[in-house]
Structure formats: C-alpha cells, structure tokens
C-alpha cells in the first residue's frame, strides 16, 4: 500500500482545503513583537474602552483609544488579549492602522473591515478569519463608548 507523502513537513494543513497554513512574515513579526500592547491600564487615560469576545470560547480582547477632540481622529490605541496568534497579529496591525499617518477619524474607523487588516498582514488562513474580527469588534465598542461619553459630557 502506498503512503501519502506530506509535501511540507512541519506545516499545518487546513482540514477543509488542504491548503498551507503557513503564516506570512508580517503575521509572525506582529505576533512576536506586538505593537501597542497595554498590560496595565490603571494609569492610562483613555477616551473609549471596548471589550469583545466570548469568555466561553476562550478569546477575549480589550482595547482602549484616545481621540483628538478637535480632529476626531484616533491618536492612540492600546489593546490586550487572551487570544491566539492570529488575533494578536491582527489586532497589533489594527492598532498601527488606526494611528499611523496622524490617525484615522472615528467615523471612518467604524467602517474598517477584516479584509483590510488581512491585506496588510499579507494574508491569513481562511479558518483564522474570525481572529481578525475580534480586535475590530473591540475597536467598534471602544468608539461607541467614546461617542457615548462625549454625548454625556
């Protein structure tokens, strides 16, 4: 009987597609060197806070933003997660995307899509798509929190 040979030893193959699960260099970089992580928020002055995820499934994400009151642009974005490698990389990239080049406006940030993050990461296995949504959900919560706080001020 012939045995099937695995072409790439050490790689993970997606069970549905047989496609390679190798992560891109950008994903690995953001996983090993996550940007804008906040381990202790006690002294961090934020304008909006969002929590997303499902403690039952195991993944949870907290994200904080600071917003420039004049321009309505996000000037700082910090996060912390109990999540997988993809969630870490994707949220790290997200925190870069919302603050780079002087930050993006909160209204515009509400329309950010997982596809944009995945594109910047150079791709993500399809079965890991939902991991890129976690940070976005927390960001949207944080923005809604900021907008609510602004109204009541």
């Amino acid at each position: 009987m012939k045995k099937k040979k695995n072409k790439k030893i050490g790689d993970v193959i997606g069970k549905n597609k047989g496609k390679s699960w190798l992560y891109t260099g950008i994903v690995k970089d953001h996983f090993f060197h996550p940007r804008n992580v906040l381990l202790d928020e006690t002294n961090y002055q934020y304008d909006g806070k969002g929590i997303a995820g499902n403690p039952l499934c195991g993944d949870i994400m907290a994200l904080w933003i600071k917003v420039d009151p004049k321009t309505q642009k996000i000037k700082d974005c910090k996060w912390r997660t109990y999540g997988c490698a993809s969630a870490i990389s994707a949220t790290s990239m997200l925190s870069v995307m919302v603050t780079e080049k002087g930050g993006i406006a909160v209204k515009k940030a509400l329309n950010l899509k997982p596809q944009q993050i995945i594109e910047r990461l150079g791709g993500l296995p399809e079965l890991k798509f939902h991991c890129s949504v976690l940070g976005l959900d927390a960001l949207k919560e944080a923005i809604n929190d900021y907008l609510k706080n602004k109204e009541t001020k």
């Binding site: 499902n54 509400l110 329309n111 596809q115």
Partner: protein
C-alpha cells in the same frame, strides 16, 4: 434551511435595524454553552424575531432540533451592516445564506415605501435553484417595483426558469455589465469568507472607494 421565529418573553422588545444580527445561546448545556451570531431575517414590523439558519455545524444542528415552545437566550441586536436612507443607489451582493440581512432590509424598505426613492440592485448567488432562499418573497417585492431588481446566479446547475439567467460565479464583470457604472454606488457584500474577500478585492481593483463598501462575512 430553517427559519426560527421567536417571540419575546415578558417585556423584552424587538427593536433593531434590518441588517443587524443577534447573539444566540441555549439555556442549557446544549452546544456546550457556545454563543453564535445570526442575522435577523424578519423586519421590525413583524411581531416576532426570525433567524434563518443553514445546517452547517454542531450549533446550527442543535438549532434545527429545537422544539416548538422552547426558550433561547437572544442578545440585543448588534452590527452596523445596513444602508442609510441617504444612499440613493445601493448594490447588494449575496452569497448563499448571506441573503438573510439583505432580505430583512429589502422587505423593510419595501414596507416603508423607500423603494420609490432609493434604488436597490441585488445580485444573489446560490449553488442550486433549490438553495435560493426567499425566491418567491423577493420576486413578490421586485415585480411591482422598478427600483428594485434581483439578478440570480447559480453556480452548480442550470435551470429553465426565466428569472435565472446567469450560471457562473459572481464577479465584477457581471456586476459592471448590469450596472454600467460602479462609481457613486454603495456596495454591501455578505456571504462566505471567500465570496466576501474576493468581491471586496475586485471592487477595489475596479476603483470603488473603501467608504462605498460594507462587508459582513459568515464563518
């Protein structure tokens, strides 16, 4: 395919925007306490909340086995996957079960008379004719409304049904042929991850700006 209709218990309300989803969980330990998000397929005018569910995994199978009269936990509606009334020219791209939020929006807009002012074109791709959900209901809305058009696509079979003319995957070429111009139109994409990712990429390649695209992927 199954549509579950829920009535609120006691004083709970059914306020939501068509296009939004709700988080669903069982009261007991079925599905191991997991929570899943499902688009709402009813409209705010209905006295019930409907979720249309395709049997895919353990959770949806458990939903398919629900008995009439059983109770579930259903969260507040969430998500911002819906058009604004100020968007005059809207394009919906639906892949399979991705039709559910669009159906709710279209039915709601038809009920509220908005289809006389706003134009909606729906591209709806399914594998087979049998898998087209809301086929009759959509045609019922489309037939009297010149501003609402449905383009059905089948990817796995051909039929002689006059309403279905396209037998291929949905791509920008088909969309362009129908719409002529992409600029100034608002695109909403909903379906499986690959469907959403591919169309998002193609639309961007064809010059559609990011703030004219909204996406919701089912996974």
């Amino acid at each position: 395919m199954l549509t579950l209709k829920f009535s609120p218990v006691k004083s709970a309300t059914l306020s939501f925007e068509p296009g939004q989803f709700a988080l669903v969980s069982f009261l007991d330990n079925r599905a191991a306490g997991k929570i899943r998000a499902y688009s709402i397929s009813s409209v705010p005018q209905d006295k019930f909340l409907a979720l249309t569910i395709k049997k895919l995994g353990a959770f949806s199978s458990a939903l398919h086995n629900l008995k009439i009269g059983e109770r579930m936990n259903i969260s507040f509606p969430a998500g911002n996957f819906y058009p604004q009334e100020s968007m005059k020219n809207i394009v919906f791209l639906a892949g399979g079960i991705g039709i559910t939020p669009f159906y709710s929006i279209i039915k709601d807009w038809a009920n509220r008379g908005l289809l006389s002012r706003n134009k909606i074109t729906l591209f709806y791709s399914s594998k087979t004719k049998k898998e087209i959900i809301f086929f009759k209901e959509l045609n019922k809305i489309a037939d009297p409304s010149p501003n609402f058009k449905v383009i059905y696509l089948l990817t796995r079979e051909k039929t002689k049904d006059k309403r279905i003319k396209k037998f291929s995957r949905l791509n920008v070429k088909t969309i362009k042929k129908q719409l002529k111009i992409l600029k100034g139109k608002y695109f909403f994409i909903c379906g499986p991850i690959e469907f959403v990712n591919d169309l998002w990429k193609e639309l961007k390649k064809n010059g559609v700006k990011e703030n004219f695209i909204k996406t919701e992927a089912f996974y």
